[in-house]
Amino acid sequence: MLNALARLGRLGLYAIARLGRGHLLLFAMIEGLPSLAARPRLLVAQVYNVGVLSVLIVVVSGLFVGMVLGLQGHYVLSQFGAAESLGVMVAASLVRELGPVVTALLVAGRAGSALAAEIGLMKATEQLSGLEMMAVDPIKRILTPRFFGGLIAMPILAAMFSAVGALGGYFVGVGLLGVDDGAFWSQMQSKIDLREDIVNGVIKSLVFGWVVTWIALFEGYDANPTSEGVSQATTRAVVHAALAVLCLDFVLTALMFGD
C-alpha cells in the first residue's frame, strides 16, 4: 500500500517536473521570436517542412472524410426529407470539428513524429550541444522556427482539409446520390457563419497547431539521447499530441458552441 502510494507520488512528481520543463522550453521558444523575425527564411523552411510536406496526406484524407460525410449525411437527412441540407451538414461538420481535429491528428502523426525524431536525434548525435559550443542557442535557432512554422501551417492545412472535404461531399451527394446542385451550395453559403463557424474553426486549429508542435518539440528535446530514448519520444509525441487535441477539442467546443 505504502509502496503504491510512493510510486504514485513519484509519478506525480515526474509529471509535474516534465510539465515545468515543457513550459520553460515554451517560454524559451517564444523568447526566440525576435531573432526569428531577423531570419524569416528559417520560418519559411519550417512552414514548408510541417505544412507543404503534409499537404498530400491532409488533402487525400479530407477528400475521403468529405465523401463519407456525404454518404452518411445523405442517409440520415433523406429519412427526414432534408437531403437538400446535405451541403450545410457537410460544411459545418468539416469547418467546426473534423477539419481542425483530423488535420491536427494527421499533422501529429506525420510532422509531429518527424519533429520529435529530428530533435531527439540532433540531441543524441550531439548536434544541439555542438551548436551551444559554437555559441548558437539551439532553442532559438532550431526549435523556435519549427514551433512557429507548425503554428502557421496548421490553420492553412485545416482550411485545405475542409475545402477538399466539401468537394468530396459534393461529389458523393450531388454526383452520386442526386442531391440538387444549387441547394447543396446555396444552403452551405447561407447557413455557414463566418464568425460562429469559420473563425472558431481557425481558432481551434491555431490552438491545435500550438499544442501539437509544442509537444513534439518538447518530447524530442527532452528525449534520452539514445536510440531507444528517441523512439520512445517519437511515440510519446504522437500519443500525447493526439490525446491533447481530443481533450482540448471538447473544451474548446464547449466554450465556443455550448449554450
Binding site: M122, T125, E126, S129, E132, M133, M134, A135, V136, D137
Partner: protein, 277 residues
Amino acid sequence: MDSGERRLEEAGDDILVRIRGLTFSRGDQRVFDGVDMDIPSGKVTAVMGPSGTGKTTLLKLIGGQLRPEAGRVEVAGQDVHALSKGDLYRLRTRMGMLFQSGALLTDLNVFDNVAYPLREHTRLPESMIHKLVLIKLEAVGLRGARDLMPNELSGGMARRVALARAIALDPMMIMYDEPFTGQDPISMGVLVKLIRQLNDASRLTSIVVSHDVVDTTSIADYLYVIAGGQVMARGTPSEIRATSSEWVSQFMEGLPDGPVHFHYPAPELERDLMGVG
C-alpha cells in the same frame, strides 16, 4: 598556488584554464570531488582516465554546458559559471570543441557546416567566407570533399570536418572529446598529426580527452590522469611514466590486472559453481 600550478608557472607557462575545487555529481555518483587542474596556454594538455571517469563531463564543465556543485572554472581569467548567457556565448566563440561524434549538422554539406559559425558570428561577405572555408578545409585535407553530405563521410573524415569547423573562428583553445575512438590506423595518424600541427601553427591551447595512452602521450605536452573523481597523476608524459603509483602504471601500461582487478567483485568460483550459500 598548488605545486602543479607552481611548476607550470616556473616553466614559464601561462595558465589558460584554471580549475579549483571542482565538485560535480550525476545522480548519486560523485564524478569530481574537489579537483584542481591547470591547463597551460599554447600547449597540448591531455586528460586521461578509464571510461566513465567524467572526462567528457570535464569538457562540458569547462565549456559552461554543465554547472558544478562547487568550485570554479576560469577560462582566460573569466569564471565560466558566473558569466551571463551573452558573455558565456561570447567566450564560446573563442573556444572550439570537437565532439566524439563530430556533431556535424546533418542537413548541411561539408562546406556549409564549416561556414556555419562564420555566417552566425561574422558579417563577412560570402566571397570571403568561401575563401576562409576552403583554407580551413585545406588545413584538414578535405578541400575536395566540400560538397559531400555528412552521411557520405567516414568517421575520420567527419571528425576532420568538425575540426575545420572548430577552428573556423580562429579560437584560442580547442577541446577534443575522445578524438581517436573508433579510428582506423590511418585516420588515427592523420588526427594525431593534425592536432599537433594546428596547435603549433595557430598557437592554440588544446585539451585532449582520451583513454588512448599511446597516441595521446605522443602529442601531449602535459598530462592529467583522473579516476574516481580525483586527479591521480599530473606531469609531462615522461614524468607520468616514471610514476611510483601502481594504479597509474597499470593504466599507462594497459595491464589487465593490478590495483584495478580483472574480475568484477564476486563470491568464490567454487561456491558459485556448486551452488553453495
